[in-house]
C-alpha cells in the first residue's frame, strides 16, 4: 500500500482575463499527468489521466445504459470526472480490496476545494456534474464509477501483454468490487476470460 501522504493543495490561481480559457488550459494539463496506479506498478510510459478520461468518455458514449441514466450527462461527467487531478495529481486511496478511508476523505475534500476554485461562478452545470461524481449519489455518478473501473481493467489487459499479469491482479480485484451492472458484467467477464486464456497460452 502506498504510504499516506497529504496532497499539497496548490495555490489558487489568479483569475485571468478569460476565465473560460484558463479553465480549459488547466483541464488540458491532464494530458501530462500520469495515472498513479500504473506508475506505482512501474509500467513504463503509462497513460495520462487525459488518456483515461478519453477511455471512460468513449465508454460512456458506447455502453448500453441502465434505466434512469442520461447519456449526455454521463458523457459530460466522464470528461470532467478527474478534472481536479490537473491540480492535485492522481492520488490513490485504495488498492485491490483495501480502501484507506481516512485518506479517501482527505482526497475527496481536496478535490472538492479544487473544483470550487477552478469553476468559481462559471459553468454551473459542469461544476455540478463534477461535484456529483465525487458525491457518488446520482445514477450517472454511480454508473460512471463502474465505467471507470471497467476502463482500468481494459487498460490493465493491454499492459499485461508486456508484464507478468500477477503484477496487476489488484486492479481486477478492485474492479470486481465495483462492477454490478449486468451489461457491464458481461464485458468484464469477457475480459477476464481473455486474460485467463492468454495466460494459459503464454504460460
Amino acid at each position: 500500500m502506498v504510504p499516506i501522504q497529504r496532497y499539497v493543495f496548490k495555490e489558487p490561481r489568479l483569475p485571468g482575463i478569460m476565465p473560460d480559457l484558463e479553465l480549459i488550459k488547466t483541464a488540458l494539463k491532464l494530458k501530462s499527468v500520469k495515472r498513479s496506479g500504473w506508475v506505482y506498478k512501474e509500467i513504463s510510459n503509462p497513460e495520462s489521466v487525459a488518456d483515461h478520461s478519453y477511455g471512460i468518455s468513449f465508454l460512456a458514449l458506447f455502453a448500453p445504459l441502465p434505466k434512469g441514466v442520461n447519456r449526455d450527462s454521463l458523457i459530460k461527467m466522464a470528461l470532467l470526472h478527474d478534472l481536479s487531478e490537473s491540480n492535485l495529481g492522481d492520488p490513490i486511496y485504495e488498492t485491490g480490496k483495501f480502501r484507506n478511508l481516512k485518506k479517501y476523505h482527505l482526497i475527496l475534500n481536496d478535490k472538492k476545494k479544487v473544483l470550487m476554485d477552478m469553476f468559481g461562478k462559471n459553468y454551473p452545470t459542469e461544476k455540478k456534474l463534477a461535484l456529483d461524481y465525487l458525491q457518488q449519489k446520482t445514477p450517472e455518478a454511480k454508473f460512471l464509477k463502474e465505467l471507470d473501473k471497467l476502463e482500468s481493467v481494459l487498460q490493465a489487459l493491454t499492459y499485461e501483454k508486456n508484464y507478468p499479469p500477477e503484477r496487476l491482479n489488484e486492479f481486477w480485484e478492485n474492479a470486481e468490487l465495483y462492477i454490478k451492472d449486468k451489461q457491464l458484467l458481461k464485458f468484464f467477464e469477457q475480459l477476464r476470460k481473455e486474460r485467463l486464456t492468454s495466460r494459459v497460452n503464454s504460460g
Binding site: 482575463i17 478569460m18 473560460d20 480559457l21 479553465l23 480549459i24 488550459k25 483541464a27 488540458l28 491532464l30 494530458k31 501530462s32 510510459n45 497513460e47 495520462s48 487525459a50 488518456d51 478520461s53 478519453y54 477511455g55 468518455s57 468513449f58 465508454l59 458514449l61 458506447f62 449526455d72 458523457i75 459530460k76 470528461l79 470532467l80 459553468y123 459542469e126 481494459l154 487498460q155 493491454t158 464485458f187 469477457q190 475480459l191
Partner: protein
C-alpha cells in the same frame, strides 16, 4: 463480441502518438486519445455558434479520429500547404476503416457522427475542425516551453487557416499573445 472489438480498437488510440509532434521530435508527445480528450473538453466548454447542438458536438469529438486506430495518424498538410491527393486517399481509407470497425456493432448513430466529421460539410463538423485546431495550438504552447517555439510555427500558421468563429478567434489571439511573451 463485435462491440468489445470496437472498444479495444478505440482504446488503441492511447498508444498512438500524434504524428505532427513526432515529426518535430517532441519528447514524449501526447497520444491521439489525449488529443481527443482535449477536443471533447473544448466541445464541452466553448461558446457555440447558433445552430450547433452541444451534445452532438461532444459525441462527434469523441469519435472524430476513431479511424486512426486502423490507419494511423496520417499527415497531409503542414502549415499553409496541403497535399490534396494525399488527403483524398486518407479520407477514403479512413471511411473504410470506420465501416469495418462499426460493422455489426449496432452503433449506427455513433458511426454516422464519425463519418459526418470526415465529410467536413455539416456545420457541426466544420466547427469541430476549428476546435481540433484550437486544441493543437494549446498543445503547441505547452511544448514550446520545452523546444524552440520557432520550430512549431507551422502549427500556428495551420490553425490560423481554420479558425474563423469569432469566439474561437478570441481564444486563438489570446494564446498567440501569450506565445509572444
Amino acid at each position: 463480441m463485435k462491440k468489445l472489438a470496437l472498444l479495444k480498437q478505440a482504446m488503441k488510440l492511447k498508444h498512438l502518438k500524434r504524428t505532427g509532434w513526432t515529426h518535430k521530435d517532441i519528447p514524449n508527445p501526447e497520444s491521439v486519445a489525449s488529443h481527443i480528450y482535449g477536443v471533447a473538453l473544448l466541445a464541452l466548454t466553448v461558446p457555440l455558434p447558433k445552430g450547433i447542438d452541444r451534445d452532438k458536438l461532444v459525441q462527434m469529438a469523441l469519435v472524430h479520429d476513431i479511424g486512426e486506430a486502423k490507419i494511423g495518424d496520417q499527415v497531409w498538410e503542414r502549415g499553409t500547404y496541403s497535399n490534396h491527393h494525399k488527403h483524398l486517399i486518407k479520407d477514403e481509407e479512413e471511411r473504410g476503416a470506420i465501416f469495418t470497425m462499426f460493422e455489426s456493432t449496432g452503433l449506427d448513430k455513433v458511426k454516422k457522427l464519425s463519418l459526418e466529421f470526415i465529410q467536413h460539410k455539416s456545420p457541426t463538423a466544420k466547427f469541430l475542425k476549428e476546435l481540433d485546431k484550437l486544441d493543437m495550438v494549446l498543445e503547441a504552447l505547452v511544448y514550446e516551453e520545452r523546444v524552440d517555439p520557432q520550430q512549431l510555427n507551422e502549427f500556428w500558421e495551420n490553425a490560423e487557416r481554420y479558425i474563423h468563429d469569432k469566439n474561437l478567434i478570441k481564444y486563438f489571439d489570446a494564446l498567440r499573445k501569450e506565445r509572444k511573451k
